[in-house]
Amino acid sequence: MSFIEVKNVSKTFKISKRRSGVPGMLANLFVPKFEKKEAVKNIGFNIEKGEMVGFIGPNGAGKSTTIKMLSGILYPDSGEINVGGYIPYKQRKSYVGRIGVVFGQKSQLQWDLPVIDSFELMKAIYSVPDDVYKKNLSRFTEMLDMSGFIEQPVRQLSLGQKMRADIVAALIHSPEIVFFDEPTIGVDVVGKETIRSFIRELNEQDNVTMIFTTHDMQDIEKTCKRLIIIDEGSKVYDGTLSGIREKYGTSRQLDVEFGCMEDISSIDKVDIIELENNKKRFVFESRDVHINELMNHLLSNYSVRDINISEPEIESIIRRIYNKEVVEA
């Protein structure tokens, strides 16, 4: 039995559909029309204790809904969720004391008060013993370099400082599982790096299970070994980051700089994109086109000055998954 088990979980929302114009408004009032939106369709996965898993997917893919069901905010319509022996939405009070949740877009700090006051409040809410509180606080403030602003009111902090403080607020009760919903949104490069290395360290040292959602692929590349891609409510990929290249990243691109303006109209099964300065890009699937044949063809028929071959970046593969341009290899 895995630490986190999700089986065939679905969630549908009823969205009221608005009609426009005055007659429409009256119609809305008396005969509301509802539209069903399947936010999550039959999703399933297992996560082991101490794993760090990234959830990605375009906006509205069902990431947040999944996280909300895992953290006990929402009831699934069907399917089963079990986290460390608890059913989140049924045993809420005993369950949520063991998890921490960071919403990148929704702070839980007291806006007008010094950061430390919010931590003290968390201590009271979660009944954290004094010694644990002191230990966690001094450790986290040092790891996240927060001693400079812990006495400052939250409203005076920068976005990056606030995010770090929010992360500590979610961790002060030593949760076994932490959910991060876009933890680096709006944070600058240095701040992002601090947050990522903190998350990595915490996972390695304390064996905390972590689940992420993000739009920043760098977050995933620098922290998670495992990646789950959700699109339109369904799981489309579940595996390692490098596995995604093997599975989807079979296209190659060849950038060629020619000695003069060459007119290459078409090559079978190769997309040709014109670039500036007599450069052209050839994009093809490695199973359809042998690269040495293509290169031979170019080198023997045209004057080639420079040649450069590259694999697609993870980010562009994922973009193509979202756009349904790639299918499994």
């Binding site: 929302f13 947040s64 909300k68 953290s71 006990g72 905010i73 929402l74 009831y75 809420r92 009070k93 005993s94 949520v96 004391g97 998890i99 949740v101 919403f103 877009q105 929704k106 839980q108 007291q110 806006w111 007008d112 008060l113 006051d117 003290e120 409040l121 009271a124 809410i125 979660y126 009944s127 009111p153 919903d181």
Partner: protein, 268 residues
Amino acid sequence: MKDVLHLIGMYTKTTAKSWFQYRVDAVLKSLAVFLREATGIIVIWFTLLKFDDLNGWNIYEMLFLFSLLFLTYGIMIIFFTGLRDFGSTVRSGNFDRFILRPRGLLFQIIFVNSDWFAALGHGGLGITLFLISAGKVGIRWNMYNAVYYIFTVAGGVLIQGAVFLFLATLNIYLLQTNSLKGLIYWNMRKFAGYPISIFHKAIQFFMIYVMPFAFVNYFPAQYLLRKDDMSDYPEIFMYLTPAVGIVMYLIAYLFWRFSIRFYKSSGN
């Protein structure tokens, strides 16, 4: 238990501390609430100077009637600010945070925030009106009276708390109930400043059985003042306020418990 009291203390401390960040504003806000509500009273004061009495109620008896209304609201809002603002808590998604904390949901709604400005403004006006009127309406205060008064105030607080809880619960289904609150709570409250016997039967019915403000101030005041118009109503009504409060709150609480599982989190 000690743990819970400590947490309530921490919530109160946090609210008070935020409050003291803007001291001048805090004082002015309370004063503004006080004056806004007092204006209505002053208008009635001058009106009654021309008429002597209203269906047998003189100006001081009227002020006594008003004092119960404001005092119960002032106390109620200390505990039920979170229910008053529950609509915006749901819409902003902040309710998700409550769900993520290992404490009772209603407990958090009640203790996380208190609108002390409203409490001081309304409560202060209630106490002021009580002090002005209590000595002049012929009540001989004794132990029984005092105990009755305390229980009846508690009942009045619960009645209004129950209405707030009920309207807050509707937010789970409707997301926005402010106009409904304006319609059934605030509008009816305007009638509640007067002896209900002066109104049309339909309004009286509404004030007794639908939004029972009559039990918040009219019937309790009748117990202490014994005006002639009490003969229009069953005598037992003067003793029912605490029971009405408890029953209404219980019903609202059960409705809340039933509804909370339908909560849909707001999207991002």
